[in-house]
């Protein structure tokens, strides 16, 4: 609170001096923070690059064909006391044993799963499928921006000319801005929160700050001031000393550390609304493994990360929804190398206080031969845009869905009902 007041005072001082165009986002941030109980809703997007094998993450153990088509990599049916078997969810689906940390979140109804979800672009190229999913326009390559950026643009347009959002409104944890967040609305790529600073003696940093505050160039002046305010805010939150709460322990992996930083940004109350992070290595053509193995290790990392994030945020989880996505699923049959090839539908996880969890959503298409897509893949029954549309409309409160997903009619009636509110 002290921080925001200081920023507010400073910015009003600047406003008196005639630089009124700039710190609008600060007044907005202050205004928002003064309205107790109306904290901003936050969406965290996790992209699993390489195509997650949804069938071995959330196992349809009630399907005999699952076991017939995956002789060496199938996860055994749930069995009391057997830690090497699927963890039952609802009598038909079970979690991979590596996802055990997610089980309590599912039981207390904060974690939902959407199965047989994907992109109707029906390409099996990683590049094209990721591109389509991140742009949010399957089948159209020349879309210049990403779906999440278009969400920001819509609400940006509602701001007055002289107001700006927080520089931390949209953040990607990584060295470069992903396609999902690319576009006209400002978004920051941060490889590491701790390194968001000018690495120079204070005299030089002060010099830059003063220079940009007086720059003749309007655009550079605005962005420069935003940047120094952002640095200031972060410095005061002392990112290097961040301690997760409630005994949460994040995995040491790149993904785990990125998730820790998202939690840190959320708790710093600096206007974060959308965060993006990704994790790689989900493309298991060879030796995918079953209960143990490559996929099992990645899933463990995922589950430990999500569970730590949930624990760390505590009651703040009420404002947060995290959704996972992956460009496509994998073949139902395992291949000759004990792996799986590129398929169609997969599963997404949706975690958050607002989530109506404890349920596996989506129409299950079945694994009989004629039920498979092109005779090989889990068929797609839920368009990924249906899931995202619901989160954008009901969680973030942006109902201009045709601007976010042009060409897609997101009918509220088709929403899965993932959220309580």
């Amino acid at each position: 609170m002290e921080l925001t007041r200081r920023v507010f005072l400073k910015s009003s001082g600047i406003a008196l001096l005639g630089f009124s165009a700039l710190p609008g986002f600060l007044t907005r941030a202050v205004a928002a923070s003064q309205q107790k109980g109306s904290r901003r809703k936050i969406l965290v997007v996790l992209f699993q690059r390489g195509a997650l094998d949804g069938l071995n993450a959330v196992i349809p153990y009630g399907e005999a064909n699952y076991y017939r088509l995956r002789p060496t990599i199938a996860i055994p049916r749930p069995q009391r006391g057997n830690r090497e078997a699927a963890l039952d969810l609802d009598g038909f689906f079970g979690l991979h044993p590596s996802l055990e940390p997610l089980l309590p979140l599912f039981s207390n109804q904060e974690l939902a799963i959407v199965h047989a979800v994907g992109s109707p672009a029906y390409t099996r190229s990683h590049f094209d499928a990721q591109d389509y999913m991140e742009s949010g326009t399957p089948g159209r390559k020349s879309t210049p921006d990403g779906w999440l950026n278009r969400h920001l643009q819509v609400s940006d347009a509602e701001l007055a000319e002289d107001r700006r959002e927080s520089p931390f409104r949209a953040v990607a944890l990584g060295p470069a801005l992903p396609r999902t967040l690319a576009g006209a609305a400002p978004a920051v790529a941060l490889a590491d929160v701790r390194q968001f600073q000018v690495l120079a003696p204070q005299a030089v940093v002060g010099g830059f700050e003063a220079m940009y505050a007086q720059a003749v160039d309007q655009a550079l002046r605005g962005v420069g001031q935003e940047m120094f305010e952002a640095m200031d805010i972060l410095r005061r939150n002392n990112p290097a000393r961040y301690q997760p709460e409630n005994g949460a322990e994040y995995p040491r992996s790149r993904f785990g550390q990125a998730l820790l930083q998202v939690a840190q940004l959320i708790k710093a109350d600096i206007g974060l609304e959308c965060a993006f992070l990704d994790s790689g290595g989900w493309d298991h053509h060879v030796n995918e493994g079953g209960v143990q193995g490559q996929l099992a290790n990645l899933l463990r990392d995922l589950a430990q990360g999500l569970a730590a994030f949930h624990r760390d945020l505590g009651e703040r989880m009420a404002d947060v929804v995290l959704v996972t996505m992956s460009e496509f699923g994998r073949t139902v049959h395992e291949n000759g190398n004990r792996g799986t090839d590129h398929g169609t539908a997969t599963c997404f996880f949706v975690l958050g206080g607002d989530v109506r969890g404890g349920k596996v959503y989506g129409k299950w298409p079945g694994l009989e031969r004629e039920q498979l897509f092109e005779g090989r893949d889990l068929a797609l029954t839920t368009d990924f845009r249906t899931v995202l549309s619901e989160l954008i409309a009901r969680h973030l409160g942006n109902t201009q869905l045709d601007a976010v997903f042009p060409g897609f009619t997101a009918d509220q009636k088709t929403f899965l009902g993932l959220l309580r509110s």
Binding site: K141, M211, Q214, D217
Partner: protein, 644 residues
């Protein structure tokens, strides 16, 4: 204008002569309307003598030279303004328009460090195989393959491919045996050329045209194809005919793969092939029919048994084969059905060809035009994608029917259909406008003056898309030299990094870390995913994250903290008193900004000069040298240096 005065000279008196003269005048009037450069050379205020025929009236000589270096090149190097002043600005520009006549051996020597630049795509595939394919061939996992490749490195120690090791010693990139090496060398070569080549305009245009015909290195096979793409399809034509450039990109495997045209076939092609085979089979049976003849599998002998390689139609040969096998194992009908589904028209290339390469999004075409163009390009495919990729026109996959593109009938048959489409597009007025606008946006202003665009478009049309003529008409236009556009462009990250290194006269041994700075500031080279390429407008490059990296780069470079790059501050301060902070500042400002700095920026920096961190002052030695690197860093990070 000379012509006009000579007309005036023999404009006397008989009516016949008057009529002739009148006609001539009309004709000249038309000519002046038609030839923009003649009009352009008649500015309201006459240009000073140093400008030659360049219509410069609002800029001083020094400003004009800086402007030329910043727009037609990657900014000035130490001493370069004086050098151009001595030779004459117009002479320098004329030379830039004919790069083949510029001696550039020094940069050629530097490029010898990058062996992949001269390799064919086939050689690159051989030297740096796709880990996924290589691992599959060896029957091991990709992780295992990567591990083995790293163990094969010549010197022991830390894994060189790890970023940390490379950040310490970028020269070790040569130990990388994985395909990432190709893109790294390409990006390093691009920076090397921007920094050192004397053919500056050609380099700016190489960047411009690659971006215009963007291909993403991260899409599958394209990593092995873009070296050849830039070298063989883009660079030879940067100042040539637009039609040649367009044709070279259309036929290059990198583009065919990137925009999927290699997969696009006439949906009826398969049936046609089957019919043809049936016909021949029957013919064979009639002539040599001998039912008792058997092949080595005991089947009735059939010389036409082998269908044309389906993989060519179905996509990546290996993947397709494998997928067919695995699918066929479970369900042969479904596999068959899938094959059929996969074969068909793919509109991606056609759409981007119209929208991004030629007419522009508002260029006046319809979805039907896209479809017809896609039909014209069926059969433009490639072969040996995993061995020695090359363009190949497969007549059997081509749609032989008539196409109607933009109201014109195209019905040559064969490869000529696609070529006719390209001819048609290059001659279309929308293309002239679209290309003129893009060039003017890159070279002149985010919102280029309409008069300039119109003149350039006119030149494009009159010269059948002669890029040199279009660029020339731009440079010989007063709008190019107006005060309004002076320093009006925000530098792209690539331009910022190249211009900073040039301004410092730094010696670049290994530009790998410069490449990663360009990436951090927001423009990963050869990694632009969408076919639109990177934006040429300021708003794409001005944001908080990017600005932070711009400042950090300025500080790191001036302080000699970018490994692989050596900055000689002592040399730069040769005639400056290193103890006098104001003299150091003056030197930096004249070096990087030709003395042009806003009074606000100067006052701010001067205030910082008193700071002990910059003065490095200690009580018993007040006359110590100041920390010049920090002063230089401040000037390189100043708002003024972000513009060109």
């Amino acid at each position: 204008m000379q012509r006009r005065s000579s007309v005036a000279g023999w404009l006397p008196w008989t009516s016949r002569r008057l009529r002739t003269a009148g006609l001539l005048l009309c004709w000249l009037g038309l000519l002046t309307l038609a030839v923009p450069s003649l009009r352009a050379q008649r500015p309201a205020v006459s240009a000073p003598a140093w400008a030659g025929r360049l219509p410069i009236t609002e800029l001083t000589e020094e400003e004009a030279i800086l402007h030329a270096l910043n727009r037609l090149g990657f900014g000035p190097r130490p001493g370069e303004v004086e050098r151009i002043r001595a030779m004459g600005l117009e002479t320098w520009i004329r030379a830039q328009l004919h790069p083949e006549q510029i001696h550039d051996a020094a940069v050629a020597r530097r490029l010898e460090r990058y062996p992949t630049l001269t390799m064919s795509s086939g050689q690159l595939l051989e030297e740096f195989p796709n880990p996924a394919l290589a691992a599959r061939r060896m029957g091991i996992s990709v992780e295992e393959y990567r591990r083995r490749m790293q163990e094969q490195r010549p010197s022991p120690g830390e894994v060189p491919a790890s970023l940390r090791a490379l950040a310490q010693d970028p020269a070790r990139y040569t130990e990388i045996r994985l395909p990432g090496r190709i893109t790294a060398e390409l990006a390093m070569a691009k920076l090397t050329r921007a920094i050192y080549s004397e053919r500056q305009l050609a380099e700016v245009l190489a960047d411009f045209w690659f971006n215009h015909f963007n291909v993403f290195a991260g899409k599958g096979a394209d990593r092995w194809l873009i070296t050849s793409y830039e070298r063989d399809a883009i660079r030879p034509h940067v100042l040539g005919k637009f039609r040649d450039l367009l044709g070279a990109t259309a036929e290059h495997p990198a583009m065919l793969f990137y925009l999927d045209n290699w997969l696009s076939i006439d949906p009826k092609a398969y049936e046609r092939l089957e019919q043809e085979l049936t016909r021949r089979r029957e013919l064979f049976q009639q002539r040599f029919g001998n039912a008792s003849r058997r092949d080595r599998f005991g089947e009735p002998f059939d010389p036409f048994f082998v269908l044309p390689r389906q993989s060519r139609m179905a996509g990546d040969p290996r993947r397709a084969d494998r997928q067919q096998q695995s699918a066929a194992a479970g369900n042969p009908q479904a596999a068959q059905q899938r094959l059929r589904q996969r074969r068909g028209l793919n509109e991606n290339y056609a759409r981007e060809l119209l929208e991004l390469h030629t007419l522009g999004v508002d260029g006046g075409y319809t979805q039907q035009d896209i479809l017809e163009v896609a039909r014209a390009f069926t059969g433009w495919t490639l072969r040996a994608l995993n061995r020695d990729p090359e363009f190949y026109f497969d007549a059997r996959l081509h749609d032989p029917g008539e196409k109607i593109v933009l109201g014109k009938k195209i019905h040559y048959g064969g490869k000529k259909d696609g070529e006719a489409v390209l001819d048609l597009l290059v001659r279309h007025p929308s293309t002239a406008r679209f290309i003129a606008t893009k060039l003017a946006r890159r070279f002149v202003s985010d919102t280029p003056p309409e008069s300039l665009v119109a003149r350039m478009a006119e030149t494009f049309q009159k010269t059948d898309g002669d890029i040199r003529a279009v660029v020339q008409s731009m440079v010989y236009s007063p709008e190019f030299w107006s005060r309004q556009v002076y320093r009006a462009k925000i530098k792209k990250p690539f331009e910022l990094v190249a211009s900073a290194v040039r301004a410092l006269g730094a010696e670049v041994e290994v530009p790998l870390l410069l490449v990663s700075w360009v990436e951090r500031i927001g423009e990963p080279l050869y990694q632009c995913q969408p076919p639109t390429g990177y934006s040429d407008r300021a708003e794409a490059w001005v944001n908080t994250g990017a600005l932070l990296h711009r400042l950090n780069f300025a500080i790191a470079l001036a302080a000699n903290r970018v490994r692989g790059v050596r900055v000689d501050l002592t040399g730069l301060l040769a005639r400056t008193d290193p103890r006098d902070p104001h003299a150091v500042l003056d030197r930096a400002v004249s070096q990087f900004l030709a003395g042009q700095i806003s009074p606000e920026t100067r006052t701010t920096i001067e205030r910082q000069l008193a700071d002990p961190q910059i003065r490095q002052a200690v009580l018993d030695d007040p006359a110590r040298e100041i920390n010049a690197a920090l002063v230089f860093g401040l000037v390189l990070g100043a708002p003024e240096f972000q513009r060109r």
